[in-house]
Structures are given as structure tokens and as C-alpha cells.
């Protein structure tokens, strides 16, 4: 046995272990909730969890991409609210057809993301500062555009994307937002594992200077990544508005924290270059299941926040520990 084969074996084991830890956590949590509440493991409840967290998963994917490239996107919650408001406004006030409204809104989200990227790449601002500013600006724009009041009356063609179900063979009825989220997850998975752009995201997040010397178009990679995050945030905002039947100016507050927590739980490094889509999805589901389960057990919302914080600390500590095992 040569040392190199030992090494790759350890790496594989480490990887398996690491992916499994959070998954085991999720399963354990599920088992606990189903033993405490009969409602937890019903088809209806599980569908609910998926439906209510579809937008979180979508935003988490965008967050994961920006974190992989070595940044962060704090503006996603505000951009989601703006996306919901603008799409609703375009339909209700301007009378645009839904397709046009959706495309324009996605383009706007992409543009806001590009702006974030430009502030980071050309303005040399730390991503934290650039996107924190955008968080304020986008929220302000949302309040301005909506006058601080919800916009409703988008019509059935819009709101069905928040609740309607599609009958899928074998699986049963699946809510439309969940299908959208699954599509996003699948595309992100392909992007990161199959494309040159995906590899470049890891490379830039791993070491920017090295990537530049290797001929990776570092600026373009960063710009596009923030653009995608902004676009996904706008998409999530529309799904949220559809589910609520109206675009609320205050929706999506704190969404960025859920997305960061999900990514980190899923093993995405805050320093860039490390992480993957399946992990982030599992992290997002963990957050969703935790919230749902605590609601079923009638845990007060004040305590819920506290418990969420503790779970985050415990899960990440365990994760760090297994990473250290991997290094051994």
C-alpha cells in the first residue's frame, strides 16, 4: 500500500463522513419530531415544509455560489422583497403580461447582483460592505415603490406559482415552488460540477491570485456569481409574493441569515472555495425542518430563534471536528 492510496482513501472517507454528519443530524431531528408529534411525518406536513422553504433553498443556492467565490451576499432578503414588489407592480400597475413581468424582474435581480459584483470587483469593496449597502438600498427602493403598502391582485396566473400542485408520476402532487427550487438546485449542481465556470468559482474562492495567474477570468467569474445570486433572490421573492397572494414590502427580512446558516450548515466555507450544492440543500432543509417541528411542538417564537442559534453552533462544531479528523 503506497502512501498516496492511503491518502485518497482517507479523503474519501472524510468526505463521506462530513456529508453524512449533517444528513444524520437532519434524520435525527426528523425522527425526534415524528416521535413527538403525529402530524410531523404526514404527507401534508412534509409538502408544507418543502413549499414553505422553497424560496429559502433558492436563495441559499445563490448564497452558496457567492460564498464559494470568496464573498457573501447580504442583500438577498431585500432584493427578494424588491423582486416581489416590482413583479407585482408591473402586472398590477403597468398591466404587463406575467411572462414579461417575470423576465424583467429576473433581469433586475441580475442587474442588482452585477452591481454588487462591480462594487466588489471594481470598487474593491469588501463583499460584506458592498452587499450590506445594497441590502439597505434595495429595501428602501421596495418601500418607495410600494409606498410601504402591499401590492396585491396579481391574478391567478401569478399566485398559482406559490401554491398550486403539479401531479408528478410516482411522487404524487408536488407544489410548483418546490419544482422551481428543484430546477434551480439541479442547474446549480450541473454548473458547479460540470462546467468550466463552476470550476472557476471554486478556483477564485480558493485563491484569487493563483487563479488570475492561471488565466482564469477572475473579474467575470465574480461579477456573474453575484449576478446569479441577485437573480435567484428576485426569483425567490416572486415565489414568496405568489404564496402570500401579495407583495409585502417587509418580506424577506432576515432571509440572508437563513441562507448563510443553511450554507454554513451544509459545509460551505465562509472563506471561499469549499462547499457544494447537496450540502447547502441539506442545510436549508435542516433549518426548514427545525422551524416546522418547533411550530408543531408549539415552541414559542422567541425560544425558536434561540434554539436555531444553538443548533447552528452545535452542527458547525461537529462539522469542524470531523474536518479535523479528515486532516489526520
Amino acid at each position: 500500500m503506497t502512501p498516496s492510496t492511503t491518502l485518497s482513501w482517507q479523503v474519501t472517507l472524510g468526505n463521506v463522513l462530513r456529508r453524512t454528519v449533517v444528513l444524520l443530524f437532519l434524520i435525527a431531528l426528523g425522527l425526534y419530531f415524528s416521535s413527538e408529534s403525529e402530524q410531523f411525518l404526514t404527507e401534508r406536513n412534509l409538502t408544507n415544509i418543502a413549499q414553505q422553504n422553497a424560496h429559502v433553498i433558492i436563495v441559499t443556492i445563490g448564497m452558496t455560489l457567492t460564498m464559494l467565490v470568496g464573498g457573501i451576499d447580504l442583500s438577498v432578503g431585500s432584493v427578494a422583497a424588491l423582486g416581489g414588489a416590482v413583479s407585482a407592480g408591473l402586472i398590477v400597475r403597468e398591466g404587463l403580461p406575467i411572462e414579461a413581468a417575470v423576465i424583467l424582474t429576473l433581469a433586475m435581480g441580475f442587474g442588482i447582483g452585477l452591481t454588487n459584483g462591480a462594487l466588489v470587483v471594481f470598487g474593491k469593496l469588501p463583499p460584506f460592505v458592498a452587499t450590506l449597502s445594497m441590502m439597505g438600498v434595495a429595501r428602501g427602493l421596495t418601500l418607495l415603490y410600494t409606498n410601504g403598502k402591499p401590492i396585491s391582485g396579481m391574478g391567478e396566473a401569478y399566485t398559482r406559482w406559490g401554491r398550486d400542485r403539479l401531479s408528478v408520476p410516482v411522487v404524487g402532487d408536488v407544489p410548483l415552488p418546490v419544482i422551481v427550487a428543484l430546477a434551480v438546485v439541479l442547474l446549480a449542481l450541473l454548473l458547479l460540477t460540470r462546467t468550466r465556470f463552476g470550476l472557476h468559482i471554486y478556483a477564485v474562492g480558493g485563491h484569487q491570485e493563483t487563479s488570475r495567474l492561471a488565466g482564469v477570468p477572475v473579474s467575470r467569474v465574480q461579477l456573474l456569481t453575484y449576478g446569479i445570486s441577485g437573480m435567484l433572490a428576485a426569483l425567490a421573492g416572486m415565489l414568496l409574493a405568489a404564496r402570500l397572494y401579495s407583495a409585502q414590502p417587509q418580506m424577506g427580512v432576515g432571509l440572508e441569515l437563513d441562507a448563510i446558516a443553511s450554507s454554513v450548515l451544509g459545509g460551505v466555507s465562509l472563506f471561499g472555495g469549499v462547499g457544494n450544492v447537496p450540502g447547502a440543500v441539506i442545510g436549508g432543509l435542516l433549518i426548514g425542518v427545525l422551524g416546522n417541528g418547533m411550530n408543531l411542538l408549539r415552541v414559542a417564537s422567541y425560544q425558536q430563534q434561540m434554539i436555531q442559534g444553538i443548533v447552528l453552533v452545535v452542527a458547525v462544531t461537529v462539522d469542524m471536528y470531523t474536518k479535523r479528523l479528515e486532516r489526520r
Binding site: 478556483a203 487563479s211 488570475r212 488565466g215
Partner: protein, 526 residues
């Protein structure tokens, strides 16, 4: 190796004569570059012919790296022109350089730690899959495997490179540069952390590249290597071209003289110190997992004890264990005959043990902080009584250190990042001297340091030894170990494999001990 290097140099010399008639592959003419406050390069000419290995030498700060960055399109020259195969070219980015057929091995490791070897090698030029924008992973890994095989590397292409040793990473870096179908390869200190075996492999690859007509610019501080492999040598000093000569026509002493601009005495001056009997540090059956196994030795007052061995033999781990950075799993440490319990660096420091680590930038210094802050860092507690930092004392101590070690810095407030490698190392040593240590451990103290500064570091070590400090010096450069130490320990796979008197030992003795009983064991880079 010396003999074969000489033969190589001679034949290379005749080959080079015929090459001179060809059109140069690369001509850099009248290159000047200044940075705010510094004229980094002044009117430099550099010519590379097809199929030659050109050495580019000079002390740190002489402008080698700046010149190569201009060639690679990282910087643009203020003045001067670059001609490639007779055609004037403008190189604005590393991408442009690659497109011309210029590939670089950078001095600082340029690998992305979390990506595997295959991805690192083909980053930025991934083979395209069936759909545009996708990557043909199978092809990528097959090619990468072949690239590693060409260098006799038995490493998994799918293992993240951070799991490999520095030497292995450096070889991956070499594989990366060779895999680009380049006409000219620039190697910036590619051998600084390689073992002799790996250097041999690299050199034989370099020779076969030369035969295929590929040119190489080879930057190294090790002049024996320049003699062994290079055809011509270009010497820079303080941003000025000193000259270009066929290697066969100049001696190593000539090259050193051109580099430093003055006569340098014998590099290694042996000082015959009066042997003292007082043992300052004794280690008995020290172990740390399987990295350090059952090591026992004694260090006398005023002695320089060299520790040789291959990369990965456990030398650094031994030092870290004595210093408490990684606690021992067995055995004991005695200072002046008294058993001491060292589980943390603080305890070692309090016992009077100093440690100058291998990687000074990451482990030895606060690069973003001032010279003064770095110097007093270890005695800060003493300088903050009762609460506030006593700046006048800090200043006085720093001034004294700067004078004593001849640290060349514009001021005490200069950030350490901006000092040359040699002066950075002096700052690390100065920090430990403020503690008046009884034992000082130096791990690769002259790595990446130019000739002049090396001599100063040696002189400093001798001075300390004369004052009774016990010194342990870990080094991979056998001439250095033999030239500086009084006594030499050789490690192999975590154990002591031999002890030698430096006055009588030869490089062969050390090498045999370092490679273990069967010659090939432990030499495999995998």
C-alpha cells in the same frame, strides 16, 4: 552529482556556441521599471536562445522577480521592448504570455489548496466537454495523470493538493508548467523545497526539454544547481544588469562576486569553539505519534547541532515537539538537567527556548505589523507594566536589535512585509534574542535568503554559540549543515538515523543515513 554537473555544463557550452547563431527566442531590451520611490529595474537586456537554459541570479531585491513579472504580463515595463522570435510583442496579461508559449513556475506556491491535482494542473485551460462551457473531466484527469507520471510522481490526481507535502506540491506545480506546451518556461526557485532525488528528476526533465528545443529561464539561489544545469547565467544586482556569461566560463566565486558586488569570504567559516561539557538541553526517548519516534540526544552549551534528513523525516516535528507546539506523546525533556514539562509554546518560551520556524511569513512574523512590534512581541508582557505599553522601552529595544543584527529597514515603523527575506529572518531571530534564550531552534533559517544575508545569519549563529546559547539548526542543504554545525544528527522516518562529527562527515555519509538502510526507502515522493 558535481562531476556530472560539470560534464553537463561543458557539453552545454559547445551546444550553446551553435545556438548563438540562431534567432533568439526572446529578447528583452532596455527594460526599466520603477515603483513609487524605487527604481526596480534599469535598462535590463535579457536574451534567451531556443533550447537553452538561462540562469537568472541575483540577491533578493535585485529585480529578478520584477523582470519575470514583466515578461509574464503582470507588470508593464516603463521603458523597453520585448521581441519574441524576432517579432515585437506586447504582453499585457498572464494570458497573453501563455498564448505566446511562456509558462511560469512561481516561487510562491501557486496551487489552490482545496482543488485536486488534476484541476490545479489544467485550471484556466480545461479540456472542453461535449457541450460548450462544460469540462471533459475524464480527459482532464487522464492528461494530468500522464503529466505527473512524466515526473515520476505517484500521486492521486483526485486528492486535494493541500494533503500533499510542500515538496510534492512543488512538483505538481512543475507538472503544471510542463503540461503547457510552452516554448519558454520560467522557473522561479523551483527547487527550494525539493529533495535531491526530486531535483534530479526535475533536472533530467529540464534536459530533455532542452533537447526538444524548449528554453528555460532558471532562477535559483543554489549556485551549484546553476552550474549543474544552466548554459548561460545572467546576473542582476540592485535592478541593474551586471552581465551575462556562459556558465562554463565563470566560477561560482565569480558569480557570487557579481551578485553581491564585493568579495565574499568563505561562505562557511568553521569556528572552532572550546567544547563545553555543560548540557543545556537533553531529550530522552521523545515521541510524538509516528512522526517523532524515540529520539534521544543532548545539546551542549555553545554548540551548533545540525539536524539533517529528507523532507518529511520528522525534523520540523521534533522541533515543534520540543517547543511545545505539538505536545509529545512520550519521553522527557530536560533543561540544564532539570526535567521540564512542555505542553505549550508559552512554557517553552518561559524555559528559555526560542524557535525560528520554517515558514517565517506564516509562522514567524506578523507581516502587516511594524518591525518594532515584531521584535518585542515575545516580551510584550514585560513592556506593558503596569497596563500600558511603554513605547520608549520598545523603541530602545528595537533600536538595539536593529543595530545588533544589522537589520536593514528604513524605520522601526516599517511593516515587516516590505523587508527583504533576509531582513525578515533577522527580525524573527531578533524577537527571540530579546528573551535571552538558552536554546534556539532554527528551522531552515536560510531558505529563500540571498547569499549575503545567509553569511550574516551564519555569523550571528556563531556569535550566539560563543555566548553559550545552544543552537539546533534544521537544514535541507547538506553543505550548510556540514559547514555551520559542530555535530550533526540525521533523521529518517521519525527516528535518529545517525550522529556525525561535522569536521569529518561527508555529504555521502549524511545522505546514506537520511535515506535509511535501503537506498530507495523514503525517497519516493508519494
Amino acid at each position: 552529482m558535481r562531476l556530472c554537473g560539470c560534464v553537463g555544463a561543458c557539453t552545454a557550452f559547445f551546444m550553446y556556441k551553435s545556438r548563438m547563431d540562431q534567432t533568439p527566442l526572446l529578447q528583452m531590451q532596455g527594460i526599466s521599471k520603477s515603483f513609487p520611490g524605487v527604481q526596480a529595474l534599469k535598462d535590463i537586456d535579457l536574451t534567451v536562445y531556443p533550447g537553452e537554459i538561462l540562469a537568472l541570479v541575483g540577491e533578493n531585491g535585485a529585480g529578478k522577480s520584477t523582470l519575470m513579472k514583466i515578461l509574464n504580463g503582470v507588470y508593464s515595463a516603463d521603458e523597453g521592448a520585448i521581441t519574441w522570435q524576432g517579432q515585437p510583442v506586447a504582453i499585457h496579461s498572464p494570458h497573453d504570455a501563455q498564448a505566446l508559449g511562456i509558462s511560469m513556475i512561481h516561487q510562491e506556491l501557486a496551487l489552490i489548496p482545496y482543488l485536486d491535482a488534476g484541476k490545479n494542473i489544467y485550471l484556466g485551460r480545461e479540456p472542453q466537454g461535449a457541450i460548450p462551457g462544460t469540462v471533459h473531466w475524464r480527459k482532464l484527469y487522464q492528461q494530468a495523470q500522464a503529466d505527473l507520471a512524466e515526473l515520476d510522481l505517484k500521486l492521486s490526481v483526485r486528492t486535494p493538493v493541500r494533503f500533499f507535502s510542500i515538496a510534492q506540491q512543488q512538483m505538481i506545480e512543475v507538472a503544471k508548467a510542463l503540461s503547457i506546451d510552452a516554448r519558454l518556461i520560467v522557473m522561479d526557485e523551483p527547487t527550494s523545497s525539493l529533495t535531491d532525488r526530486e531535483v534530479d528528476t526535475l533536472f533530467s526533465r529540464m534536459r530533455s526539454l532542452r533537447e526538444r528545443g524548449v528554453s528555460i529561464i532558471f532562477i535559483s539561489h543554489r549556485l551549484e544547481e546553476v552550474r549543474a544545469i544552466c548554459d548561460r547565467v545572467t546576473v542582476l544586482r540592485d535592478g541593474i544588469l551586471v552581465g551575462t556569461h556562459p556558465v562554463a566560463e565563470v566560477t561560482t566565486e565569480d558569480i557570487i562576486r557579481m551578485m553581491v558586488g564585493r568579495e565574499v569570504g568563505q561562505m562557511y567559516e568553521r569556528r572552532d569553539r572550546a567544547a563545553t561539557d555543560g548540557v543545556v538541553l537533553e531529550v530522552r526517548n521523545l515521541s510524538r505519534g509516528d512522526r517523532v519516534r524515540d529520539v534521544s540526544f543532548a545539546l551542549r552549551r555553545g554548540e551548533i547541532l545540525g539536524v539533517a534528513g529528507l523532507v518529511g523525516a520528522g525534523r520540523t516535528e521534533l522541533a515543534e515537539t520540543i517547543f511545545g507546539a505539538h505536545p509529545a506523546t512520550g519521553g522527557e525533556i530536560l533543561l540544564e538537567g532539570e526535567p521540564v514539562h512542555i505542553r505549550r509554546p508559552q512554557q517553552a518560551i518561559r524555559s528559555g527556548i526560542g524557535f525560528v520556524p520554517e515558514d517565517r511569513k506564516r509562522q514567524g512574523l506578523f507581516l502587516g505589523m511594524s518591525v518594532a512590534a515584531n521584535v518585542v512581541m515575545a516580551i510584550l508582557r514585560r513592556l506593558t507594566r503596569p497596563v500600558l505599553i511603554r513605547w520608549p522601552r520598545v523603541e530602545a529595544i528595537t533600536r538595539e536589535s536593529i543595530e545588533r543584527l544589522d537589520i536593514r529597514t528604513p524605520s522601526q515603523a516599517q511593516r515587516v512585509r516590505n523587508l527583504s527575506g533576509g531582513n525578515q529572518q533577522k527580525v524573527v531571530i531578533a524577537k527571540w534574542l530579546t528573551l535571552d534564550p538558552r536554546v534556539l531552534i532554527l528551522d531552515e533559517p536560510t531558505r529563500g535568503i540571498d547569499v549575503g544575508a545567509k553569511a550574516e545569519i551564519y555569523r550571528l549563529m556563531h556569535q550566539l554559540a560563543e555566548r553559550g546559547v545552544g543552537i539546533i539548526m534544521i537544514s535541507s542543504e547538506l553543505p550548510e549543515v556540514l559547514g555551520v554545525s559542530d555535530r550533526i544528527l540525521v533523521m529518517h522516518e521519525g527516528r535518529l538515523a545517525g550522529e556525525f562529527d561535522a569536521r569529518t562527515a561527508t555529504q555521502n555519509d549524511l545522505m546514506n543515513a537520511a535515506t535509511g538502510t535501503t537506498l530507495n526507502r523514503g525517497m519516493n515522493p508519494a
